[in-house]
Symmetry: C2
Subunit: 287 residues, 2 copies
């Protein structure tokens, strides 16, 4: 298992990318903030299968954290990350520092209008602007053929699909299924913040989503009713505080009153101090 090349500068990363292209090799790209888990591993392994060369970026992006969020305490585990990247078959790791990625006078923002103002955008108002800006930069530096993102971050995924289309990046965005613990908890770098008791309570997210799926399979189409029932289930946990329970159109992220077409059922719940998200998609006939 060869060690991936560690690349620290934009110029070197860009050169690596051009070298691949000149050699006729396709590039698969997995942008991450590090603290890699089996979910990331799945993305890298898929990129490995579908491309000639695989780049992973590890960059805890300050512009996507709010002023009171966990930028400084976000887990940084580079040695373990490097090992996981090697095992999963990455050829290189782009690992720049903040100064390398952002000029001290940086003032350019890339924004996908509307889609970032709802769901997670309500409690994290500048989050998606930070995500789209850094992803646009990474796309320009790495110039991949395909980029891999987890469906756990459903809103991010949809926003990045629109970004890629609107700015003509010519990159295929590949959505990858959420990876879960054996008991169903969606993998997240933030799960490590949970105490053993909170870890148990965190199962309420998937429980509510599974319940919703069953109710829809049994014929329920009333979004308000379903979200109310899901909220009731979640609120039984002593340390759960709901941020949102939403049933939205999977493409526009607009609220649905009556379910039809491609539906995204999405949750954000704080368990103690840790904010967790999860979602499922349900395909129904169009109205």
């Amino acid at each position: 298992m060869p060690e991936p090349l560690i690349i620290k500068t934009v110029a070197d990363m860009s050169r690596w990318s051009k070298d691949q292209f000149k050699a006729g090799r396709t590039i698969g790209f997995v942008p991450t903030m590090g603290a890699l888990h089996a979910g990331h591993r799945g993305l890298i392994e898929r990129a490995r299968r579908e491309n000639d060369a695989v780049a992973v970026s590890i960059f805890v992006n300050p512009t996507q954290f709010g002023p009171h969020e966990d930028f400084h305490k976000y887990p940084r585990t580079f040695d373990a990350d490097r090992k996981l990247c090697a095992e999963a078959g990455a050829d290189c790791i782009f690992f720049p520092d903040v100064k390398e990625m952002y000029d001290q006078d940086a003032r350019t923002w890339v924004e996908v209008g509307g889609l970032g103002d709802t769901l997670c955008g309500l409690s994290r108002p500048s989050h998606f602007r930070g995500v789209t800006t850094v992803v646009a930069k990474l796309f320009n530096i790495v110039r991949p053929d395909r980029a891999y993102f987890g469906q756990k971050d459903a809103q991010q995924l949809r926003i990045l699909e629109v970004l890629t289309r609107d700015l003509c990046f010519g990159i295929e965005i590949v959505p990858c299924e959420t990876v879960r613990e054996p008991d169903g908890l969606a993998l997240s770098s933030r799960n490590q913040y949970l105490s053993p008791d909170e870890r148990q309570q965190a199962l309420c997210l998937l429980r509510a989503l599974e319940y919703c799926k069953k109710r829809v399979a049994a014929g329920e189409r009333d979004a308000m009713k379903l979200s109310g029932e899901m909220a009731g289930m979640i609120e039984k946990e002593p340390d759960a505080e709901i941020d949102y329970v939403a049933l939205v159109d999977a493409e526009t992220l607009d609220d649905l009153h009556t379910l039809s077409g491609e539906v995204l059922v999405a949750l954000a719940v704080k368990i103690g101090n840790t904010r967790l998200i999860d979602n499922v998609r349900i395909s129904l006939p169009k109205p």
Copy 2:
């Protein structure tokens, strides 16, 4: 003189660009809105000298026109443009229609904060957002090594330099000197809107700029005094209406009180219904 290739789709343009890159050829790019004049010709000829392959884009970009501006009447002269591109040595012309460039649900904006709110941005509030968004798209499609812009559009040039730096495009922005008529009027596709009488009055822009240069050479450093004197000269013309007379830092575009360092002296003046801009740069010792 070979006819340039006319390319109408994003996919074909992107393919052309990749083919150049694979063949080891550098690409020079001149983005335009058509109605080409000797100023554009200078950009294309310089791109020809400095690169192996030259692409010109002709696209009247709707998102950079305000609701009451001249998008619909903006001159469209494709046959003459093609001839000029051929003479100046362009290899291809990217000539997409609006539907090809903008998805009907397009909602992504690229904005350079601050620099677009001053000078022309005051009377054209969403103009530079349209410029930066379309240039980001064109850069992604054409992927040039160098892109050529006229210094007549000084604010646009500065904004695009910052855009290119901040989003890590890896493209060299090449500023090119303003091309003028024999009597000094800066070339502009909008000059053709001027009546013969207005054409005469339009010379007041350069006259004021030249006067300013002389006053600075003679030791004047008071920006307010200089702008007042320039405004007085311009207002002598019966159909001239000043939008702004500004003396700003050439890098930050911040207003200067006392001139020093790199100074941009910039004007926007309506002559009748036609809005014209012009500028000069003055290099002074730093304070």
